[in-house]
Symmetry: C2
Subunit: 390 residues, 2 copies
């Protein structure tokens, strides 16, 4: 994929700086997006109209020359690293050879993404290279608008996600209830066992993932609790899966809440209300609407029903205590944000819609789909029914 | 685990700063180590003799109060975030509420790890908080020396690693050769299929992993090529597995090189030479020796046999083109380094010993064990035979 960096050119012009500098390993999605190179240790990418990679060590040099989407791939030893190291020590040599590399490309001033490492910024500044933060994280904004190829990458990851969700739902559906606890093959069915089933399914579909959430009862009351221990009948079980396709590095994201058997009345009410909030938020998705509009649509439903939200009470620890959604791509959490600060939606934005309610006394309920904003609304990339009881 | 932060106290004293500040999500191992809290989005940890967590958003607040190893868990809204946001916008509000949090704890000056995000450093500096880089990455040095509990965590991950390596070796051993290509169940046996087998085995042993290397022939000539396509008989196949235990977050790391059938003479020579370098490097591991000594031991073997190393030719792209090893812990690559700059080894250092030879015309060979430095030498944490042909 060849990213469209017009907006980055415009940003550099507007700031009056010579280049954009990234210093990170490829788990930093801006690094991967700009360089097209996947490496586990930090390296430098300069964008000065062309993409140029700079490595301190030789280890990745050969592969970078073959694989990176770059005009040039260069090394510290090409810019006096060895001599600098002898004279100033290895750390100072890093900054001096990097500064010489920049100088060789006529770059005296760079903008850098917000999380650019302080040591490199200070090291370059001490050598009279101007380093300013790009507070808008311009490449993130570029990344947020997906090409058709990127949307297809997300779609592919979402297919794996649906297979994994089916595997999890089947485990719960097939479980037998003994003493209020789900059992499978005579053993208590645990959160951990369901996660392993999910993760093995994802691996077999070419996806990796850092974590999965299978959280039951009080665990589910915390949106980021991963869950543990035996699953209970009659309690809401939140399953949130966010795999990364290993080939493309694009993510998907989906949540369903299941209950084995009949939930109590409160959970049923919460679920129906959350489904209403989810549909209201989906209805609000279209180009020109803001992320804040979509978030407000979900908050309206909850607040009308008397549930607290962060909008009605910024300190609340129960109710709807997170934003309505976020962008998904190379990062599982990226722009745009469907939150009070959420900017205008554009065609190509891929976002989650995921309202939920939480209270340690009740548990948690969340429903999450993944959609892409289109010219006239949105396309839902999620093909999975919305149903509480299994 | 309660980390021993004596060295951090000494560093802060020596620098004359009030605290140590980390701003990262918990994939940053220094953040996880200091805070004891696992969260996917960046948060702030202040160490001022006590560990204090600071969150801008409420989402993780409840869980952090329960799970973090912290004296206090605080929030932006407790430090005027909302009012600042109205007056200055959300970005500036971040820095102002963070500065107020620091001020409330009597902290005017902080040191920060090398990769501290530039935006936060500049934001705080603009508010007259002194932010200096800790160039030695003091917490990394502390992390490099493992407690018995941490060594046991690595040991546990290594057991999973060995199970996965056996699964991979068995696939290769059981493969049938047709037209020079390994076959399994009538299909060509690919690098991808072996990786999936490895990863599923690791998952079933409670481990996750980002990547695995199963690289054959020319792919193997590049130490970080992950490999793809059908595996070939008579060619060296490098398998490098570096799982992370999901419960503890500690890693293991091991490499073996296999050949289905007889390799050509050159590969055999390379293997035997690499085994000799590996044994020489292992023999050099003891407290008081430096990482450079261990690296030199491996380089000596290669150079005596006429193979280029980065020590003999810093620009070489073939031969022994990486360092001899690295620390392993919460990060798969951490201190100490077994390289020309490698510092003194101490009991509790967990390091890989992994010499190798590479040439696109031949392929690659690498042997890697994981050892812990003890009071009088080392203990090898790896229990896996060293044998090329399967």
């Amino acid at each position: 994929m060849d990213p469209d960096l017009t907006a980055l050119d415009a940003f550099l012009d507007e700031q009056g700086v010579d280049g954009y500098l990234v210093h990170a390993d490829s788990t930093d999605s801006t690094q991967y997006y700009l360089s097209g190179f996947d490496a586990p240790d930090p390296f430098v990418t300069l964008y000065d109209g062309d993409v140029r990679l700079f490595f301190l060590r030789s280890l990745e040099f050969g592969r970078a020359k073959r694989e990176a989407r770059a005009e040039s791939v260069e090394r510290g030893i090409d810019y006096g690293y060895a001599a600098y190291s002898e004279e100033y020590g290895p750390r100072e040599a890093t900054y001096r050879s990097l500064a010489d590399f920049l100088d060789a490309h006529g770059v005296d001033s760079v903008a850098a993404p917000p999380r650019f490492p302080l040591h490199a910024a200070d090291g370059l500044r001490d050598l009279d290279v101007s380093v300013t933060v790009d507070p808008e994280d311009t490449v993130s904004d570029i990344r947020a608008v997906k090409t058709d190829e990127e949307v297809d990458n997300v779609r592919e990851a979402q297919l794996a996600n649906e297979a994994a969700m089916h595997a999890a739902e089947d485990l719960i559906a097939d479980a037998v209830v003994e003493d209020g606890i789900l059992h499978h093959d005579g053993e208590p069915l645990t959160s951990e066992a369901v996660k392993t089933e999910i993760e093995v399914t994802l691996l077999r579909h070419g996806c990796a993932l850092d974590e999965t959430i299978v959280a039951c009862g009080a665990d589910a009351a915390d949106p980021h609790d991963r869950g543990s221990g035996p699953l209970e009948a009659g309690e809401p079980i939140i399953i949130d899966i966010f795999p990364q396709d290993k080939a493309t590095k694009y993510h998907a994201d989906m949540t369903r809440t299941f209950c084995k058997g009949e939930p109590d009345e409160r959970v049923r009410e919460w679920y129906d209300l959350t489904e209403e909030a989810y549909r209201a938020a989906l209805d609000a998705v279209e180009p020109g609407a803001t992320g804040a509009d979509v978030h407000d649509a979900a908050c309206d439903v909850y607040e009308d029903a008397g549930e607290p939200t962060l909008r009605s009470d910024e300190g609340t620890e129960t109710g709807f205590i997170h934003s309505t959604g976020h962008g998904v791509g190379l990062d599982v959490h990226e722009g745009p944000s469907l939150a009070p600060s959420g900017e205008e939606l554009q065609p190509g934005h891929v976002v989650t819609i995921e309202p939920g309610l939480y209270d340690p006394a009740v548990g948690g309920v969340r429903i999450e789909d993944l959609v892409v904003v289109t010219e006239d609304g949105y396309e839902n990339l999620t093909d999975y029914r919305v149903e509480l009881t299994v």
